[in-house]
């Protein structure tokens, strides 16, 4: 250890210790939460307004590309969106471009069914068109001709023409409003350019927090109407609709983890500069 200052040694701290620290903080904060109020950001308000603005009774296209990894954050905003639309008697057409959504779809519908004041009827209130492979070409082909790509059947293999919800719906242009849950794949620009732009559909996305800066530019030009931004969006949405739940509990643990991160960055820099001023490298 000769030639190493104490600062240098602090900087070489084993990464496993730092990792254990974050593990302990999050566990502790989840097991014994405290409550703090917070201001609602304009993105949350914008998304709330968008969902409120959808006229009662319209048919909404819903790309439900949630993944297992983003489920804890996006499930609240997704299910509350679905619930708000159902409360207005809107009809929703679901499909997904991700394999994992196959397992999540039923779970979300069950949650919404429980929240909803009325019984949801398959084929009248909603229809599940299943997984569409081929991401961008898949989306283009699907939005051009739904019956062509799905082969005229829904996820269970029943012909979609036998359901009243699909009357007169055969393309992206038939949805005046669309919502795309993009999970964490950053496919928002893809839906903007293949759905919102050519068909003029009013588009909003539900996405994880990291995509936000990359899509603020589309929000600024109005190509995208609104975004529910990750866990914060979910928490804000829960707050605005008065249905506090899962997201609200997590956001605190995340806050303390963020504090830990800020402290780590500051400490790392302080040690580094002291070490450098004392002749380290």
């Amino acid at each position: 250890m000769s030639g190493k200052t104490i600062w240098r040694r602090a900087l070489d701290l084993d990464h496993r210790i730092i990792a254990t620290g974050i593990f302990l903080i999050i566990t502790y904060m989840i097991l014994s939460p405290i409550e703090i109020p917070f201001p609602v950001s304009s993105y949350g308000q914008q998304y709330y307004d968008f969902v409120t603005e959808v006229p009662a009774g319209t048919t909404v296209g819903f790309m439900m590309g949630d993944t297992v990894a983003t489920k804890p954050q996006l499930k609240p905003s997704t299910t509350i969106t679905m619930w708000m639309l159902y409360e207005k008697n809107c009809k929703i057409v679901y499909w997904y471009d991700k394999v994992e959504a196959v397992g999540l779809m039923n779970e979300y519908i069950a949650v919404v069914d429980e929240m909803s004041s009325r019984e949801l009827v398959y084929g009248v209130d909603y229809i599940d068109l299943g997984f569409i492979a081929g991401t961008e070409t898949g989306a283009v082909a699907f939005l051009e001709n739904i019956r062509g790509v799905t082969g005229g059947v829904d996820v269970n293999g029943d012909p979609i023409d036998s359901f009243p919800i699909m009357e007169g719906v055969n393309g992206g242009g038939d949805f005046a409003y669309g919502i795309a849950n993009c999970g964490c794949e950053c496919t928002e620009p893809m839906y903007i350019r293949q759905w919102g732009m050519p068909y003029g559909t009013e588009l909003a996305t539900i996405n994880c927090a990291m995509d936000l800066p990359a899509i603020t530019l589309y929000l600024a030009t109005g190509q995208l109407r609104a975004t529910a931004n990750g866990l914060l969006g979910s928490a804000e949405f829960e707050y605005l609709t008065g249905r506090l739940g899962l997201a609200f509990g997590q956001i605190l643990a995340v806050s303390f983890a963020g504090l830990y991160f800020v402290i780590l960055v500051v400490l790392g820099n302080v040690f580094y500069f002291i070490d450098r001023s004392q002749g380290g490298n």
Binding site: R16, A19, I22, F23, I26, T27, M29, I30, L31, A69, T70, K71, P72, Q73, V99, V102, G130, F131, I132, A133, G134, E136, T137, V140, V149, T150, G151, V153, G157, C184, P189, I192, R193, Q194, G196, M197, P198, C208, A209, M210, D211, L212, P213, A214, L217, Y218, A220, T221, G222, Q223, G230, L231, L232, L246, Q250, A253, V254, A257, G258, F261
Partner: protein, 234 residues
């Protein structure tokens, strides 16, 4: 019962997978291979089921015999696994790639170049005259910044002399944007972690003792593994 066992399995899988943070050792490899098998099977099943339902089943229906084309092309993809017939897969790939390039180029030029860069920077979306001074300044910053940052991506010009300042300012604007993504992503990662722990490990509270007990078992096993030299700590 199945639900309780499932929750236990879920939390134990998480504990075992988190041990990848402690180096290369058998516990995490075991969990990793389980995950690998499950995910490979699940993805392959759902995708091939799509191929089966939309291709083969549809082909059998009256009047839809033309769906035999994608069915055959789909089989051609697998020709690449065998060296002498490798070239066959080029046909399905060529069709895929041609369609993909076409559909992405034809709309990219609108949504990402014209609507975004050119129209987005112009009034009325970015008014400069007749609005509060703050807003006008903001819009000018956006226009100036985006032009500088575009110059950063110009490759046919050597940035020496005064133009190198434009290049440098462009880089700073880009880095500022990346910083924003970086902050959001950091919070997102912690959200993931909190979500994982809430939904898989720490809830429901009745099962918590089993999870904690398993953590202790794994910790002891790790100590043994590292002490006995089965895996190296450094």
């Amino acid at each position: 019962m199945a639900v309780t066992i499932g929750m236990l399995v879920a939390s134990w899988m998480c504990v075992m997978l988190y041990t990848i943070l402690y180096g290369d050792q058998p516990i995490s490899r075991f969990a990793e291979h389980i995950y690998m098998g499950t995910t490979a099977g699940y993805y392959a099943y759902v995708n091939l089921r799509f191929y089966w339902d939309k291709g083969i089943v549809q082909m059998m229906e009256p009047g839809k015999i033309h769906f035999i084309i994608p069915v055959i092309l789909g089989i051609c993809v697998y020709a690449r696994l065998y060296t002498p017939t490798r070239w066959v897969y080029r046909y399905p790939m060529a069709i895929l790639m041609g369609s993909m390039l076409g559909v992405s180029i034809r709309t990219t030029v609108f949504s990402q170049i014209i609507d975004q860069f050119i129209l987005g920077n112009l009034p009325p979306l970015a008014p400069i005259v007749g609005v509060p001074a703050g807003m006008a300044i903001n819009n000018l910053i956006i226009i100036f910044g985006s032009i500088c940052a575009t110059v950063f991506f110009v490759f046919s010009h050597d940035f020496a002399g005064p133009t190198r300042y434009i290049h440098r300012i462009g880089r700073l604007f880009l880095l500022c944007s990346f910083g924003a993504t970086y902050g959001n992503t950091t919070s997102y990662r912690y959200e993931l972690m909190a979500g994982t722990m809430i939904s898989n490990m720490l809830r429901p509270v009745e099962l918590l003792p089993y999870t904690l007990g398993f953590i202790v078992v794994v910790a002891i096993a790790l100590v043994v593994i590292f002490k006995m030299g089965i895996a190296s700590w450094d």
